[in-house]
């Protein structure tokens, strides 16, 4: 909760005197890893952030993409891991709240939420179940109340998150380009604090999130109030329409300290703030507490003096508090006063820009050891193994989760959750597909290839709806960066994401870094999460009825790379081997071809092949379609490997395509002309999903039985304990 000695020295030198205690508190909040990115900032510069659709504005926390016809889409991703690990309901709920306000700060209306949740082994660990259930409730209660649909995400369980939780929330906004809030301010403008009162909750939250979770400091967790958040959304948009907002910033990590210094720095202005004017929840709070409280549902607004009365009127209509707390000057100072007495006065630029660090990095020894580990011999009964996998928590249907989220409100959800990617309709007649993906099991074995794989998987999911990827957000979650081995995994993942982003020309429009994710057993597995947005001009490919005789094609090569697969980890409890690798040229060739086929209307259903491999992906198609499928393994393009591996390998760049028999020739002709590895691997019909090689049945399951297990197992697991 305090500055490092060298940081204090740096600060003293910069401001030319010893900082007083209030100043130290303010700077400590702002220079926390959480707010300042001091470990990561230097390295993040390698990510490509520009592109024809990208719009850059001053002081934005969210990325903006032009989707044509005068409209924009905004997107942001954040996590709330430390708070959720201690108090999952409030931590997850306020995680939603924070990212929503970032979308709102651009002047766009939030239209979707996605969440990525990760916990320990819920089959064996009742604490993990408790965290999971309460995090889901927190997200549901918050998002549902706001009337913003939660349209997708992912849930994963892994022992590396024991006694911990990763709660990532992404949000998407939509609005008119000419109504984006172009942050600016002039001397004499008024600074207003709008929304909830400032209390003692969340004090030091940013520092709490910037350290290993050794003390369960519940007071550092913020308290959610979605009702106030909803009123803030409506009041802010109305104030924007009335020209009452010159600049706006959400109060998140670091509270007022962060919002004031970053706004002043970004706009090149000075801000003088009087803490006695801040509306408080408790009367006896001291200035440092007021400056670093992370109470939720608050916005900092800069308005023209002439517009102040109108802004106050709007706030009155929605019955939200609105205090005039400061003024804008041209001296570029962040000045904090208590009535007339000056408590802090420092250049905003100094406060907002922590001295950056050069952390050492070293390749962990475990990587090569695990790579060389002897891989398990195949299971005998592969039907049983497949059924077990379908019922495993990471693969089973997540209906229990998304059924608690209102995913219809806003009447945009054209493709609903439960398939590769949900799709929203936009006001200009276009469609937006959004997906987030992570894969810590792959990233643990090979952080660079694993991160690229997450990126490709998110793209594959979006592409399976017929949308072209237009932008990406990344959320990089790792353990303690002071550990060179952890820091190496961060740098490797970042490089993988950058390589993929550059090759595909998909710009990174936003993101977040979350470090110090440590459990009592050590650092979490590297968990970069990638969110991809895709745009489609035509009605997207959603669930369609699969008919008897429809054919199944597999695009892409299946390789002997089962490291980090669900098969190895869940069935054998084996961690090791080589994780799936991306060949960028092949990756793009396959994706372009699949997108082309879908956009030409030649495909009925497209499904990405990922967790659990080919066997699981085909079963999912059969179970959701309520129809059997027979797959000839001999027709699967593959490297030579033992028989069971082709079923469960999680090789990337693979897509399952369902098509009417009559179009099969045209499709195979096209794929051949593009020189793509593919196979016409099966046909639909009957009531079983089966995999045969020659005359031998390798695995076979009744579709209804498989569906029952897959659909209900997660719900049963959670409701019985």
């Amino acid at each position: 909760m305090s500055l490092q000695p060298q940081e204090l020295e740096y600060l003293t030198k910069k401001i030319g005197r010893t900082p007083n205690p209030t100043e130290m508190h303010i700077v400590a909040a702002e220079w926390s890893e959480h707010c300042s990115y001091k470990s990561s900032k230097k390295h993040l510069k390698i990510l490509p952030t520009s592109g024809p659709r990208v719009i850059h504005e001053k002081g934005y926390d969210s990325g903006v993409l032009d989707v044509g016809d005068g409209y924009v889409v905004t997107v942001h991703i954040e996590s709330h891991n430390h708070p959720s690990a201690v108090e999952p309901y409030g931590g997850a709920a306020t995680g939603v709240g924070g990212v929503i306000r970032d979308i709102l700060s651009a002047g766009t209306r939030p239209i979707a939420i996605l969440d990525g949740l990760r916990f320990g082994d819920i089959e064996k660990d009742s604490h993990a179940r408790w965290l999971f259930k309460n995090a889901v409730s927190g997200i549901a209660d918050y998002g549902n109340c706001l009337g913003i649909p939660t349209i997708g995400g992912e849930v994963e369980f892994d022992r590396c998150y024991t006694n911990y939780a990763l709660v990532d929330v992404a949000s998407v906004g939509f609005g008119r380009k000419d109504r984006l809030i172009k942050n600016h301010a002039d001397p004499g403008d008024v600074v207003v604090l709008m929304g909830g009162s400032t209390g003692r909750d969340g004090i030091g939250g940013a520092q709490f999130a910037s350290d290993s979770l050794e003390t369960e400091d519940r007071s550092a967790v913020q308290i959610p109030d979605p009702f106030i958040e909803k009123l803030i959304i409506e009041a802010t948009l109305e104030a924007r329409n009335e020209g009452c907002i010159k600049a706006i910033k959400d109060l998140g990590g670091g509270g007022l300290s962060c919002a004031v210094s970053e706004t002043a720095d970004a706009l090149g202005i000075g801000i003088s703030l009087d803490v006695s004017q801040v509306h408080l929840r408790e009367a006896d709070m001291n200035p440092s507490e007021i400056m670093t409280s992370e109470s939720q549902e608050r916005m900092l607004v800069i308005t023209d003096k002439k517009k102040l009365a109108r802004l106050q009127q709007i706030c009155k209509k929605f019955r939200i508090a609105c205090s005039v707390v400061g003024t804008v000057s041209d001296d570029k100072l962040m000045r904090i006063t208590d009535k007339k007495s000056v408590l802090a006065s420092m250049p905003a630029e100094v406060v907002a820009n922590a001295p950056l660090l050069d952390r050492p990095a070293k390749k962990p020894a475990y990587i090569d050891e695990l790579r060389r580990k002897k891989e398990p011999a195949p299971k005998k009964d592969l039907s049983k193994t497949l059924l077990r996998l379908l019922a495993s928590p990471n693969i089973a249907s997540k209906m229990w989760v998304y059924g608690q989220y209102d995913h219809e409100v806003g009447i945009r959800t054209v493709v609903k959750p439960g398939v590769d990617s949900s799709v929203l309709r936009l006001d200009n007649g276009k469609y937006l597909a959004v997906k987030i993906d992570g894969n810590p099991k792959h990233c643990y074995l090979d952080p660079r290839q694993g991160a690229m794989g997450c990126f490709e998987e998110a793209c594959r999911n979006v592409v399976c709806t017929g949308a072209s990827p237009i932008g990406m957000v990344d959320h990089l979650q790792f353990g303690n960066p002071e550990n060179p081995e952890v820091f190496w995994t961060f740098l490797e993942s970042l490089q993988g994401i950058t390589d993929f982003s550059k090759y595909y020309n998909i710009p990174c429009v936003g993101g977040k870094v979350s470090l110090y994710n440590e459990t009592p057993q050590g650092p979490i597995k590297p968990t970069p999460l990638i969110g991809v947005l895709g745009l489609a001009d035509k009605k997207p490919l959603g669930p369609q009825k699969i008919g008897k005789g429809d054919v199944l094609l597999l695009v892409g090569n299946t390789r002997d790379e089962l490291g980090g697969s669900e098969y190895y980890e869940y069935v054998f409890d084996f961690v090791g081997g080589k994780c799936p690798q991306i060949d960028l040229a092949e990756s793009k060739k396959n994706m372009d071809a699949v997108l082309n086929l879908i956009q030409n209307g030649q495909i009925k259903v497209a499904h990405d092949c990922s967790k659990g491999g080919l066997a699981v992906a085909v079963s999912e198609l059969a179970m959701t379609g309520g129809i059997g499928c027979s797959v000839n393994l001999g027709a699967v393009p593959q490297e030579e490997m033992e028989g069971d591996r082709v079923l469960f390998s999680e090789s990337h760049s693979r897509y399952l395509l369902v098509a009417d028999k009559s179009t099969a020739d045209a499709i195979t002709g096209y794929l051949k002309s593009k020189n793509i590895k593919f196979g016409l691997i099966g046909a639909f019909g009957g009531d079983s999903v089966e995999f045969v090689r020659g005359k031998k049945t390798v695995a076979k399951l009744r579709v209804d039985k498989a569906h029952d297990k897959w659909f209900n197992s997660l719900r049963d697991l959670v409701s019985h304990g």
Binding site: N144, F227, K317, Y402, G403, Q404, V409, V414, R425
Partner: protein, 226 residues
């Protein structure tokens, strides 16, 4: 035809309902804030879904004491068509304009899914175009959607033909699988499912025509009144 959409603090389906009335059915829709007076020339009023006052205390109970409710009550007394959807239904019940109560779902969870309704009363302003027992594919989205009425009230509902919609399955242990009811006169209808989420084929994975008939019934009713 002029339809008022009432907005309470925390309403969140108001914009969806407005869009459907105005852009899908070309009606003259107007928003009214919960503190507004309702003009005399309105033909119908809709109370949309959402979380008025954040569902504090009990869903709908605070909004039921809003200033606008006295005007809604006057319109109800005059026999004007009034529809409450989801939170709007909860508000009508809490205001005493409809009998019974809406309780927490037995799963204790919020539920968002598609289901099917069966039309049990085709004499209300919102159902007159349906055949009895006709089915409507429609989504629900609620945490407090379990309709409950005591035995005497349920008997009265049956006797007076006040049960408008029933679920085709036991979705949340609502008494008698009730999804929507009306007042004795039939002009005030409340329903938990969301017709505004089902009228456009693009977002309706099943069949949007039945849901359309809820709004077409209203248009026919108002047309006939004039």
């Amino acid at each position: 035809m002029r339809v008022g959409v009432i907005v309470f603090p925390g309403s969140n389906c108001d914009r969806d309902m407005f869009h459907v009335l105005k852009d899908v059915f070309n009606l003259d829709a107007q928003y009214f804030w919960h503190e507004d007076k309702l003009p005399k020339n309105l033909d119908a009023v809709v109370l949309p879904g959402g979380f008025s006052y954040g569902d504090r205390l009990r869903a709908g109970v605070i909004a039921a004491h809003s200033p606008v409710i006295s005007d809604v009550r006057k319109m109800a007394d005059k026999g004007m068509p009034i529809l409450g959807v989801c939170n709007g239904f909860q508000i009508l019940v809490e205001a005493g304009l409809l009998p019974g109560v809406l309780l927490r779902n037995t799963s204790l969870n919020f539920m968002c899914r598609w289901t099917e309704l069966i039309v049990e009363n085709n004499r209300t302003p919102f159902t007159r175009q349906f055949k009895l027992k006709q089915r409507i594919p429609i989504p629900i989205a609620n945490g407090e959607g379990r309709y409950y009425a005591d035995k005497a009230t349920l008997a009265a509902l049956k006797k007076n033909n006040q049960i408008v919609f029933r679920y085709s399955e036991n979705i949340n242990d609502s008494v008698f699988d009730i999804a929507g009811i009306c007042n004795k006169e039939g002009n005030v209808v409340g329903m938990m499912p969301h017709p505004e989420r089902a009228v456009e084929s693009e977002i309706n994975p099943k069949d949007n025509k039945p849901s359309n008939m809820i709004f077409e019934s209203l248009i026919a009713t108002v047309g006939a009144r004039r």
